[in-house]
Symmetry: C2
Subunit: 233 residues, 2 copies
DNA sequence: CGTATTATTGACTCCATTCAAAGATAGTGG
DNA sequence: CCACTATCTTTGAATGGAGTCAATAATACG
C-alpha cells in the first residue's frame, strides 16, 4: 500500500541529500541516469514497513525524510533493534545474500524514502560506471557502522548510552541537523533493547546525565550541554 | 613480509572451499578467469597481520586454512574482537568505504589465505559478469553476520556464550569440520572481550556448562555433548 | 475526558565484576 | 631432560551495578 508520488521536481539530481546518499560519488550525467530508475519520495506512516524480515529481496532504499528502525525478530519472537536510519542512509543490503531480507525496516514517524528496484540493480551497475563502486562503498559503510556498534555495545550502561547519543549527534550533524538539540527517535524501551539494557536503566542513566550537567532531557527531547564531557565517559 | 607461494596445483578451480568462498556462484569459465588474478596460499604465522586498521585498502582476502581474528582498537587503545574468521570466509570489505581498513586481521595460528588485489577489483567486476553479484552477496553475508552478532551480544553470560559456541559449531559444520568437537580459536580473555564479559566469567560459565552436561571442556578443546540443550538456553 | 502508552523513581535481589591466589600448560634455554 | 618463565586458566570471596518488581506520574491520542 505504498503511495508512489513521482514529483519531477524531486529527483536525485536536485535532492539536498546528494552529498550523503547514493549519488554522492557520481558525475552529473551519472546522477541524471540514476534518476530515471530510482523511485523518489515514497511516503509511509509511522509503524508501517518498508520491507519485512523474510520477504524476497525487492529493492535497496534510501531514507529521504524522517527516521526508521531496522528490527530483527529472533526465533523466540523477541524484538532486537539493530539500527536507527536517518535521512540519506541506505538499507536493504542484508537482502542480497540469500535474496531475502534478514530484518524489517519500520517507520518511526511519517517518512519518505526512495527505492532502487532489485531488477534494475544489474543494469544500472553495468550502465553507470560509478554506481557499482558507490554501492560497494555504501555496503562497506554499513559494515563499518555495525562493527562500531559491536564496539559500543560493551561496558557500563553509561558508556553504552553515551556512545549511542554521541553517534546519533554525529550523524545528525553530518546531515545538517543540530548535533546538540534533537528528539530521540526511539522510546526508552527501544533504546534499552538496542543497547541491551532495561528501559528503567535507560531512564535512570539519562536523568543521571542530566544531574551531572551533560544534557537536558524532557521525554524525547534532548539538549546536549557538554558534548566533551559526554565523550569523556 | 608475506611469503607468496604460487602453487599452480592450488587455484580457485580446484580448491576444496569453492562452494563457500568467492567462486561459489560462478561458472567453470568464470572461476578459471578469477584464478588468474587471485594470489593463492599466502602463508603467515600466528600473531602476524593480514592487514592493519588504518592501512590503505589494498585487497580483499579469503582465509584458506587456519583461523584469524578481526580486531578494532578504539581511541583509548582497547582491543575489541569483532569476529573470528574461518576457512572460506572473506574479509576486507570494511576497507572499501574510505579506502582504508577499519580493523586489523590477525592470524590466530599459522594460516594460509588468498587475496584479490584492490587494483584488480574493477577489472574483474567488468570482465567476469558473475563476480560483482557474488561480491555483493559476500558483502551482504558479512552484514547479516554482524547483525546476528548484535542480536547475540545481549542477555546473560550464559546466553552470550551459548550463542557464541552454537555459531562457531554451525560455521565449522558448514566447512566440513566436526560441529561437536573442536578447539576454541580464542583464549578466555579474547572470548570475554568479544562478548563483553571478563575472562573469569567465561571460564566459570564454561565449567558451568560442563557441570550441566552440555559439553566437555579442557582448555581450548571443546566437545559438545548436548547441542539441543545448549540451544535451549 | 478517559484510556493507553511511555516515563520516572524507589527498594530489593542477583549476577557479573573485581580482587586475589593458585594451578596447568606451552615454550625456552641450559 | 629438567628447570624456568610466561601465559593461560581455574576457583574463591566480596563488592557493586544493572535487573526485577512495583507504584506513580506525565503525555499522547482517540
Amino acid at each position: 500500500m505504498n503511495n508512489v508520488i513521482k514529483d519531477f521536481k524531486v529527483s536525485c539530481k536536485n535532492c539536498n541529500l546528494d552529498s550523503i546518499c547514493l549519488p554522492r560519488g557520481l558525475s552529473q550525467q551519472e546522477i541524471e541516469n540514476l534518476s530515471t530508475v530510482v523511485n523518489n519520495n515514497i511516503v509511509i506512516q509511522k509503524g508501517e514497513y518498508i520491507y519485512r524480515q523474510g520477504d524476497a529481496f525487492s529493492r535497496l532504499v534510501a531514507i529521504k525524510s524522517g527516521t526508521a528502525k531496522e528490527v530483527n525478530f529472533d526465533s523466540q519472537g523477541n524484538e532486537h533493534i539493530l539500527n536507527v536510519l536517518l535521512p540519506g542512509e541506505l538499507a536493504g543490503f542484508d537482502g542480497l545474500y540469500l535474496d531475502k531480507y534478514n530484518c524489517s525496516v519500520i517507520a518511526l514517524e511519517q517518512i519518505s524514502f526512495c527505492e532502487l528496484p532489485a531488477e534494475q540493480i544489474d543494469t544500472v551497475c553495468s550502465q553507470i560506471p560509478g554506481i557499482t563502486r558507490e554501492l560497494f562503498k555504501h555496503s562497506s559503510e554499513v559494515i563499518i557502522a555495525s562493527q562500531n556498534r559491536v564496539v559500543s555495545n560493551k561496558g557500563s550502561a553509561e558508556t553504552k548510552l553515551a556512545l549511542f547519543l554521541i553517534n546519533l549527534s554525529d550523524r545528525l550533524k553530518a546531515r545538517g541537523f543540530s548535533p546538540v538539540e534533537f528528539n530521540l527517535p526511539l522510546t526508552r524501551q527501544e533504546i534499552g533493547d538496542h543497547l541491551g539494557l532495561t528501559f528503567e536503566t535507560v531512564s535512570r542513566t539519562l536523568t543521571h546525565f542530566q544531574d551531572k550537567g551533560y544534557l537536558r532531557v524532557q521525554r524525547k527531547y534532548i539538549e546536549i550541554k557538554d558534548l566533551t564531557g559526554l565523550r569523556s565517559i
